[in-house]
């Protein structure tokens, strides 16, 4: 089959590989119809996530048709149209049973490596480095889906591929980012990053009853999506001082909750600051560029919530612990526990409360994956989200 493989920093290629086969009794094989490129894939593309190997198949957002099931899979049958959550979760460990699917205790066969860096291992993730399992990803014609009796959700005909594939990651992730804010009536929520995750976090904050939603980024075309589809206010951090503007907008209180939907590859308008972290990151002295996170902490109202869905891989410098501690802030974070959200969010789409596919800017055939990575990386051609059609 054809599959998108990581070939080194800033390099992906569509190559021929063997077709996947059932390896565990609870596996299913899915023939992929639509798959997406994620901001998380960019971290791999840029070489910031350790333990990648040349030839690794990328992709953790995909959907398609079940073509084969293992002997233990009774809920699915060949022909079913499903969307697959990106964390691989067994459903039976204590973490899974508490709904913490992205920290499943059984799905990372390379848990030993992850423990060395993170203390304990999170769940395995499709196409997301050997640190997180060494699983082949879904930017391909077929994928093997472990624990198919837990993750995949059947998609009714009236839901389009473009809508359904949002349930693999970005919609649940944005939703969880907003849910972690514990939004009360009248509250103001600020979101750093107007990528797919940030936009869907902002939209979810609306669904969850936020009074005002403020989105921060530097790309006018992305900020425009926030204004048009979410009725959000926006700040272009290259044009205005973010902290001053937020204080001004909230009459000095600061937002009640701040969502970091940027992650480890933050960008900074202040060139000196940017150069500092960029250099340390390049020298691998620091693994992250946590500009958005630092700013979110400083901006947040005292006693408020900092909700982190942007991805981090290692260690951050200059963490404003003083502000965090002295102002009684709360931080909530995590890779999304997608399995917890797929069904309720599918229902919200069915009820017409939201159409998450408003973020999709590009659709192209699988063989154009290298081009998709490039334009998404460089934010060219007003690119917000690339779907690959198989």
């Amino acid at each position: 089959m054809k599959a998108t493989a990581w070939m080194g920093t800033d390099s992906v290629k569509v190559i021929d590989v063997p077709d996947p086969k059932i390896m565990n009794a609870r596996d299913a094989i899915v023939r992929i119809s639509t798959t997406a490129i994620c901001g998380s894939d960019l971290h791999l593309y840029h070489g910031y996530i350790p333990a990648m190997r040349k030839g690794d198949i990328l992709g953790h957002e995909f959907m398609g048709e079940v073509v084969e099931v293992g002997p233990q899979v009774r809920n699915l049958a060949p022909g079913d149209r499903v969307v697959v959550p990106f964390p691989i979760a067994c459903g039976h460990c204590s973490s899974c049973q508490r709904g913490l699917y992205s920290v499943c205790e059984n799905s990372n066969p390379n848990a030993g490596i992850a423990e060395k860096i993170m203390g304990h291992s999170p769940a395995g993730i499709f196409g997301y480095s050997h640190l997180l399992g060494g699983y082949a990803g879904g930017q391909a014609e077929y994928a093997r889906v472990p624990f198919a009796d837990v993750g995949p959700v059947k998609v009714p005909d009236e839901i389009s591929d473009d809508q359904a594939v949002m349930l693999a990651d970005v919609f649940p992730t944005g939703y969880m980012g907003a849910e972690m804010c514990d939004i009360k009536p009248g509250q103001v929520i600020a979101v750093w990053g107007a990528g797919p995750v940030g936009l869907l976090a902002a939209a979810s904050a609306r669904l969850l009853g936020a009074e005002r939603v403020i989105v921060i980024d530097r790309f006018p075309y992305r900020l425009r999506l926030a204004e048009e589809h979410i009725d959000a206010e926006t700040i272009n951090y290259e044009e205005a001082d973010v902290l001053d503007t937020l204080n001004e907008m909230t009459a000095g209180r600061g937002p009640d909750a701040c969502i970091d939907a940027v992650g480890l590859e933050g960008h900074h308008g202040n060139t000196a600051m940017y150069a500092y972290d960029r250099a340390k990151q390049a020298a691998r002295v620091e693994t992250e560029r946590p500009f958005a996170l630092r700013q979110a902490i400083l901006a947040c109202r005292s006693g408020g919530v900092v909700s982190v869905v942007g991805a981090y891989g290692g260690f951050v410098d200059k963490f404003p612990m003083g502000a965090f501690m002295n102002r009684s802030l709360i931080m909530r974070t995590g890779q999304c526990h997608v399995q917890r959200y797929t069904r309720p969010l599918l229902e919200r789409i069915q009820r017409g409360e939201i159409d998450p596919s408003f973020i999709v800017s590009h659709r192209m055939p699988l063989c154009d994956a290298p081009k998709g990575y490039k334009i998404f990386q460089k934010k060219q051609d007003d690119c917000t989200k690339v779907l690959l059609k198989v």
Binding site: K21, Q72, G124, G134, Y135, A136
Partner: protein, 316 residues
């Protein structure tokens, strides 16, 4: 002290090769007393009664033998005392060699006989010293570990799975098979590098249903080992803490190196991985596989990941 240290392994815990050293101790005692109390007859018997120097040396040799005797019979540092006998033998052989060159006739014959006897004793002494030393080194090599994992299953379920010894290879990666001969005894085959196999028989010596199982290898194995697993209810209704204690002594030499490779550079990591697989099998039904780690969790495989893409048909 680890719980499992209370499980006796004859090879490791017996009063190690005790018979030979104490026999040597008695011999030393007899020789020492003879040389001290009756230097005259001893000198005559050995054919050196014509030399005043020899007659004055004999009580000193007697004292030395008494020292060795006391050491050997005390049972402490038997290897050290056995080697002290060998050193004494060497000294005696040197003296006898000189005496032999200076004598003729009946005295020469007696000195020759004495030399032969001392040479024989020396051989026995060397053998004893080597054997005692080997046993001591085996004890020094003993590897002990205690590792635990929390499994989201009841103690009864975890116990039941482990108690069927034939299940062990499903999560212990280095085992090829375990055959239960009866409810107590089993035959274990471990697979090593380059086709090396290590086999042993084991028996369950303590079985507390739903609480613990203790086993040890039977005498005669080259890899004496013992283990205990306890199934403790995890606090807060979180299943079972499976607590394993292991003790084994890898042999020296080529087989030892093979066994060391079996357990890898980090034996603890291997056992931790075994327990992770145990957890996977109990909670999910089987060992979880990925394209990068097609055989599931293992340190070795983590170091040598294949690319995360489907396996070629030939490797399935």
């Amino acid at each position: 002290m680890s719980q499992v240290d209370t499980v006796l392994l004859p090879e490791l815990d017996g009063p190690v090769p005790a018979t030979l050293p104490s026999a040597l101790g008695l011999l030393s005692l007899a020789l020492g007393v003879g040389a001290l109390v009756a230097p005259g007859p001893v000198a005559r018997l050995t054919g050196v009664d014509d030399s005043p120097a020899a007659r004055s040396v004999l009580p000193a040799i007697g004292l030395r033998e008494l020292g060795s005797a006391a050491g050997l019979l005390s049972g402490r540092r038997p290897a050290g005392w056995a080697w002290s006998r060998v050193a004494g033998d060497a000294m005696d052989l040197t003296l006898l060699g000189r005496a032999l060159a200076e004598r003729s006739g009946e005295r020469r014959r007696r000195v020759a006989l004495t030399t032969l006897a001392v040479a024989g004793i020396t051989a026995v002494d060397v053998l004893a010293a080597v054997r005692v030393g080997r046993a001591r080194r085996a004890r020094a090599r003993v590897i002990r570990m205690q590792i635990a994992v929390t499994v989201n299953r009841s103690p009864a379920e975890a116990y039941r799975f482990w108690r069927d010894m034939e299940n062990l290879p499903r999560f212990m990666a280095h085992l090829e098979s375990v055959r239960a001969d009866d409810l107590r005894r089993s035959h274990w085959i471990a697979r090593g590098p380059a086709g090396h196999r290590v086999e042993w028989d084991a028996e369950i010596i303590d079985d507390q249903p739903n609480k613990s199982i203790t086993w040890r290898s039977l005498p005669g194995t080259r890899v004496p080992n013992a283990g205990r697993v306890r199934f403790v209810p995890a606090p807060g209704d979180r299943g079972t803490e499976v607590r394993v204690e292991l003790r084994y002594a890898p042999p020296a030499g080529a087989l030892g190196r093979a066994v060391a490779k079996l357990f890898g550079e980090e034996p603890e990591q291997q056992v931790r991985d075994d327990l992770r697989r145990f957890k996977q099998v109990l909670e999910t039904g089987e060992v979880v596989r990925s394209e990068g780690s097609p055989n599931g969790i293992s340190v070795r495989q983590q170091a040598m990941q294949r690319p995360a893409q489907p396996l070629p048909a030939s490797r399935r």
